[in-house]
């Protein structure tokens, strides 16, 4: 133990004696640690997106559609299936009323023409649903209110707009109470949806939500309906899926032994997108990290070799007065590890700065609030472990060489 403390003291004084060289040597490690932490930081952000998405939509919602969202099966066969109609929705709703928490219809029309005065949106999505939709998602609006059941029944000319729609058409934030034209027909804005962020392209921010009856009024009755079935808890999903399957087969009159002509989709598409992004971050991060650490450890190994050569005499002296091979080995290993830890400390500071600034900028300019402004403790522990490993790997050969020096030869060195 005393020897170990002594090794640390020695390493510190050896490094202090060669500040500049040490600083340059650690650059590779600094960059390596920077990439490791940056990768971790981005992946954490990605996890947050996924969590937030699942929290918003719930991970207990089944989406019944004629299409398979995961892209399984034959797309042409999918396309030739009959769309789910509003009438079918209503009958499924009845059958599932006691099993599922919510059964809600949605329809969407992309590329709708939306105007306010002279401003026109082209990428907007008109979304038809009913009053329960907002409850299924926790019931919060940024401003105003959602449409009521009465407006549902009557098919009122009211619209709740997404955050991007609001920002584009009403930069002053005075959307509620204004009248916009959808497909040339005036609708009164009664509410604004909260910002959802756009990392996962579910486009809620670009939507204009109107009562589904009104939607059919605009686009025709045959428009494809998606049935959103919220199970009311992940543990109920399998039961509800089973019930939904039965209800759908019955409503669609599918005979025993015949195949389904619809798909029951889940949140997997979010996970898939997130997993793809995650894989990209991983791949890029690993390559960058690996390269940096390779360069870093070669640098450190090199400097340790130089250090051993320069201090051959010192090694001889230490051996002459009783240093064992292992204590010499330990001395140089500790020095190498310390070099890496210094690099790590600098890398941590650098990444902390980037994370802080990055989170701030993302929040302020893009309203992306999923990035943490600090590096997590587990990431720091990982960084320290990695740098100790690199320190040992880079230092072991020079340290071993030092420990094997012949004392008489070493003493002769200048």
């Amino acid at each position: 133990m005393t020897q170990f403390i002594e090794s640390i003291r020695l390493a510190v004084s050896a490094l202090v004696a060669n500040k500049m060289r040490g600083a340059l040597t650690t650059l590779g490690v600094v960059i390596g640690i920077f990439f490791v932490l940056l990768m971790g930081w981005l992946l954490t952000g990605l996890d947050n997106v996924l969590d937030e998405t699942l929290a918003t939509f719930g991970d207990d919602i089944l989406y019944v559609d004629k299409y398979n969202w995961a892209g399984d099966g034959d797309w042409f066969e999918n396309r030739n299936r009959k769309s789910i109609t509003f009438d079918q929705y209503q009958r499924v709703h009845q059958r599932l009323a006691s099993t599922a928490e919510y059964v809600i219809p949605t329809t969407r029309a992309n590329g709708a023409s939306v105007r306010y005065g002279d401003d026109e949106l082209t990428s907007a999505v008109v979304f038809g649903t009913n009053a329960e939709y907002i409850q299924m998602f926790g019931g919060n609006l940024k401003e105003g209110r959602f449409f009521s059941e009465i407006e549902d029944q009557s098919g009122g000319f009211v619209v709740v707009i997404g955050a991007n729609v609001s920002n584009s058409l009403f930069p002053k934030g005075d959307a509620v109470g204004r009248v916009v034209k959808i497909q040339g027909i005036p609708f009164t804005v009664i509410g604004i949806m909260p910002k959802r962020g756009s990392l996962l392209a579910d486009m809620v921010d670009d939507q204009l939500l109107i009562p589904i009856k009104r939607f059919f009024g605009l686009y025709g009755n045959s428009f494809r309906v998606v049935i959103n079935v919220k199970a009311g808890g992940t543990e109920r999903v399998e039961d509800v899926r089973y019930a939904t399957l039965g209800a759908m087969r019955e409503v669609r009159s599918i005979a025993l032994g015949e195949r389904d002509d619809f798909s029951i989709n889940t949140q997997d598409q979010f996970r898939k997108q997130s997993d793809q992004l995650r894989a990209v971050v991983w791949a890029v991060g690993l390559v960058m990290t690996g390269l940096s650490f390779l360069v870093g450890s070669i640098g450190i190994m090199n400097i340790m070799f130089v250090s051993v050569v320069e201090r051959t005499k010192e090694i001889g002296i230490r051996k002459a007065i009783g240093a064992t091979r292992s204590s010499v080995l330990q001395q140089f290993l500790v020095e190498s590890i310390l070099l890496c830890l210094i690099g790590t400390a600098i890398g941590v500071l650098l990444t902390s700065g980037v994370a802080y600034a990055g989170a701030y900028i993302a929040e302020k300019y893009w309203e992306i609030d999923v990035l943490d402004s600090t590096i997590s403790v587990s990431q720091l522990v990982l960084a320290v472990v990695v740098s100790v490993v690199v320190g040992v790997l880079a230092g072991i050969i020079p340290a071993f060489r030092a420990s094997r020096l012949d004392p008489v030869e070493a003493l002769r060195a200048e």
């Binding site: 020897q3 007065i321 009783g322 240093a323 003493l411």
Partner: protein, 254 residues
């Protein structure tokens, strides 16, 4: 002749027919050939000979820094060639105190830290290390230079620090290879007084030198030439020095 401080004791070093060869390409250099000698506790021996005669080689073997190519070397009755690297390191650490011509202090460490160093490898606590280093520096009359770095000390002072470092583990023997070689005459005499002092307190001293004046202080002189022992006899012309100004405290050897 003044009486010795303590009587000569049991053999510490027994060398039987030891040789040391250096193979350099096709050429073999015989640095030592068939050397035999015995050194007992509390002897004061000078190893003399011209430059290149094999004195340092012999010293390094005695000090367990080097191992013989042939023959047997027993240190305190134990065969050195049978010892592991760690055992050799331990002997160098605990039983032997080295003093070199070029002092061989660590430049970045002050006097106390330099003297403490062997105790670090002996695994002794910081507190005790410090106390013993200060005590050793006091023995060489350097208590007022404790925190000086080597480059802030004179040659004689540096050699005293080196001697304190050799003493601090209370070794069985002190090996000095040309300890006055880099010092002026007056300072050299100072250092020789110190060795005399240590010997009187019961230490065993082996001194390598090529200077007759220096060897004259020893009680026994071994002359080496071409790697062979030419003569090995008590020194009839021994000059015993007056005690130094260094305060005489407890013997360095327990």
């Amino acid at each position: 002749m003044a009486p010795q401080a303590t009587s000569i004791g049991e053999p510490i070093i027994e060398i039987h027919h030891v040789s040391r060869r250096y193979v350099m390409g096709a050429e073999t250099i015989h640095a030592l050939r068939d050397v035999s000698l015995t050194i007992r506790r509390n002897e004061y021996v000078a190893i003399m000979g011209p430059s290149g005669s094999g004195k340092s080689t012999l010293m390094n073997i005695i000090g367990c820094l080097d191992t013989p190519s042939g023959g047997d070397y027993f240190f305190e009755g134990e065969l050195v060639s049978k010892m592991s690297d760690n055992e050799l390191a331990q002997i160098r650490n605990q039983q032997i105190g080295f003093v070199f011509q070029t002092f061989n202090l660590l430049a970045r460490n002050d006097a106390v830290k330099n003297v403490e160093l062997p105790l670090v490898y002996a695994g002794i606590s910081r507190q005790e290390r410090q106390e013993r280093a200060v005590e050793a520096l006091r023995q060489v009359a350097l208590e007022d230079r404790m925190t000086h770095k080597p480059n802030e000390l004179s040659g004689g002072q540096r050699q005293r620090v080196a001697i304190a470092r050799a003493l601090v583990t209370r070794p069985s023997i002190i090996l000095a290879d040309e300890p006055t070689g880099n010092l002026d005459t007056a300072t050299g005499i100072d250092i020789m007084r110190l060795f005399e002092d240590l010997w009187r307190k019961g230490n065993t001293i082996i001194l390598v030198t090529h200077e007759e004046d220096v060897a004259r202080n020893a009680a026994r002189i071994i002359r080496v030439r071409d790697g062979k022992i030419e003569s090995d006899a008590p020194n009839p012309n021994r000059i015993q020095m007056a005690a130094t100004a260094a305060p005489t405290t407890a013997p360095a050897t327990p």
